[in-house]
Symmetry: C3
Subunit: 356 residues, 3 copies
Amino acid sequence: MDILTALMSTLLDQLQKPTLSFLLGGMVLAAIGSKFEIPDPVYKFIIVLLLLKVGLSGGIAMREADLAALAVPAFCAALAGILIVLLGTRTLARWRGVRPVDGMATAGLFGAVSASTLAAGMTMLDAEGIAYEGFIGALYPFMDIAALVTAILLARVAAVRRAPAASGNGSGTATLSLGSGDGDAPARLEPGLMRGILTDTLRSPAISALLLGIVLGLFARPETVYHDFYKPLFHGLLSILMLIMGMEAWARLSELRKVAHAYVLYGLTAPLVHGCLGFALGLAAHHLTGFSAGGVVLLSVMAASSSDISGPPTLRGALPEANPSAYVGASTGLGTPVAILSIPLFIALAERLIGF
Amino acid sequence: MDILTALMSTLLDQLQKPTLSFLLGGMVLAAIGSKFEIPDPVYKFIIVLLLLKVGLSGGIAMREADLAALAVPAFCAALAGILIVLLGTRTLARWRGVRPVDGMATAGLFGAVSASTLAAGMTMLDAEGIAYEGFIGALYPFMDIAALVTAILLARVAAVRRAPAASGNGSGTATLSLGSGDGDAPARLEPGLMRGILTDTLRSPAISALLLGIVLGLFARPETVYHDFYKPLFHGLLSILMLIMGMEAWARLSELRKVAHAYVLYGLTAPLVHGCLGFALGLAAHHLTGFSAGGVVLLSVMAASSSDISGPPTLRGALPEANPSAYVGASTGLGTPVAILSIPLFIALAERLIGF
Amino acid sequence: MDILTALMSTLLDQLQKPTLSFLLGGMVLAAIGSKFEIPDPVYKFIIVLLLLKVGLSGGIAMREADLAALAVPAFCAALAGILIVLLGTRTLARWRGVRPVDGMATAGLFGAVSASTLAAGMTMLDAEGIAYEGFIGALYPFMDIAALVTAILLARVAAVRRAPAASGNGSGTATLSLGSGDGDAPARLEPGLMRGILTDTLRSPAISALLLGIVLGLFARPETVYHDFYKPLFHGLLSILMLIMGMEAWARLSELRKVAHAYVLYGLTAPLVHGCLGFALGLAAHHLTGFSAGGVVLLSVMAASSSDISGPPTLRGALPEANPSAYVGASTGLGTPVAILSIPLFIALAERLIGF
């Protein structure tokens, strides 16, 4: 009962934060039939700016980190991101009535990382005087991008399998090889087709912008322009995107009527499962390279968290057909409060299994 | 003569401020036939950002105020905003040759509040050591929004009355009930029609954005995104809007040739009349709830001032058919200098009638 | 050999700076066939904001300077800008295979000024304790704008001469008078035609925005909006423009295959020639008005430098047919490193010929 009160209070906090409150605001606008709109060219530009920023911050963090010390934890982080999405693809995305693309997008968000949940974890460790590596912030993009790219690739592969004649992205070869693909027993994808999907994904505006940002962050010195422009504009532009997504989420809310319980169940349990997965991978890194107990806790927190920042623009840009009511609702509305509340659990687990 | 010098000097100050100087710049561009333009999608987005900011700041101010102490003065402020617009509708908007929509838009701006004029009033009171309530800043949105919404509603009602077949906003029912409406002896509006206009106004992009901002400011916690994004961008985006309005103002200046004297007369006298109206309402609040003498002065200053910030984007978004040469010219060009110069008058009035 | 190492190291620094790295990023996007794009209305708005900022900063600098002391050096600066462009028009733009509009655009950039190169020059003088006038920053816009406007005018005149039937900018009179104009032996331009081109240039969106900014900077008080909006957004928006220009530069790189050596030769030698020209004009000002030796050095540095900031948006806005591979590549890629490395040369020259 106490847990429930805490959950409700954390949920209320979330609801008042810009991300979710602007999403709700957009839903209200749609509900009253407002003619409010963000013009399409501006919307596309906002997506570009958001993803460049996400990429730049990831690239800069990677460049500044000690790559040798980072290697094993980074591999574990990326692996966690991929495994979380694969798990979601086998569970939520196969649920009867759940649209696969919605399930995969949701799994992508749950695989991606919430910077604010991570910051909450760091604050708790700091308060208890538990040490962790300085490079933890640089692990973030590995899990984040691995999860999002995996989700997008899987969703595109699934789309080609299901609707071979409407591959949409102009990869003409895709239509030839897949006459027999059908949902439950998917045809094996030819390597050429897979390459086509990879290329299409790489060339899509959203992924191009994200990767461009990473490359520039890694190899150039964009710090000034990052700190003076991309970073300060980020949350504001995200609030605008949330209005747009809220309006669309309202229009598509009815699609979810029959499967809401699936998303609620996933939103409440997935953070715990993912956190334990992250803990296991962190424990492996601890035994392999002496990754600190505090670091293991934070890797669990990253895995438990679901993205409220980098995820929505990426998915919205790369998978416009996915229903934001599903993925933003489940992740920001349920996943994030649960993840924040489960942080003490991972601290206790680390104390028991590793010791500080 | 001294007054005239002071008026000219204040006017020159106004002309050099970004608001009016960018408006003049836009007029010069139009005058030389420049091909300069702000693309329409960007213009629409600018309006949205400006109105979200105006709404957010109003909502946050209301939330932070002590609502019990605020109630009576806030009611007086809103009443002042509405009365000023009604007065303008009966005077300026009925002047022979003045287009009613232009007259109502102008009255709306004169009913709305100029933050900088209010700040000038506070500075003068501070300099003389006269106390006033801390919640004065929260009165601003009540007068501001009451005046603008009243003006927009009245202009829309007038438009439906005048041109029943061209109600424009897609409220299909509006065209049915008003076959006999004509200018001077208006038909009574059916309740259903009035509801249609209210709904249309509420759903219009400009009013939606404004109200959304207020609701988010009241019930969410948008402070971070407000201070990092909406507030810093505001004046810059307003300067761009002023360029656009200046170009249009130039193109439509000739419409005003025959009625310029009406606007000059209104711009010079209305601030004094409105200030006295505000003073009377403040005096009532003083006797009812002990509203301070300094507060009464500031309510007068708010009533005397005319909006240079929230008003132009709201009117431009909600009443695109109104001529900005008329309303921005009269308010920013004449109303604001006169209002600033009349502040000492209200201080003297309060000293005489209430005492500090 | 040491010089070559220094050149390569300065070049690498340049490549990592936002300007050039985003340009390269855009080229990479184009090379992999990305569908990344900046919507056209947003692109147009970015150009407007950039040029308003360039104009505002120039206008403010001019207003704040002591115009009497500034007059002669400002005249020399403007003259240097014009002479550099004329020189480029007679050399690079006439090179066999170089498109005249590309050559003139490149000469325009080399005539315009790089603020960062100028800052590097000031830093070196400060380090050696050499004094210079406080108004040096205000000389910048004179050389900058004189060079860019000259280049744009000459390119437009050349376009009318070459293709009299396709004058493009709607100056109907242009087509009548120039039946016989052909490349090498140009017909004399009628005064009426020249006036038409001047008017067209003045009315073009890019030049309108630039001049509007200057006028507002000179006669209004846009400091607040300049410092809160135009200035902070500048580098970020420029990085976006560089992405756009990089994508286009890649698409048009092949045009340069046969004339790359011309641009390389120009990029390596022009800064030295221009710097000496600036030095000579500065020396004249020194003898006429006692312009300081440090000032002469900085005038040389300005002349030697090529614009990485104000130039690209101006040229891109006013001469969209010019190939950015040519002008940005030559100026930012070669001209700027050479100019930075030649600063000690001008210091040595001033020590020898004037003495500190």
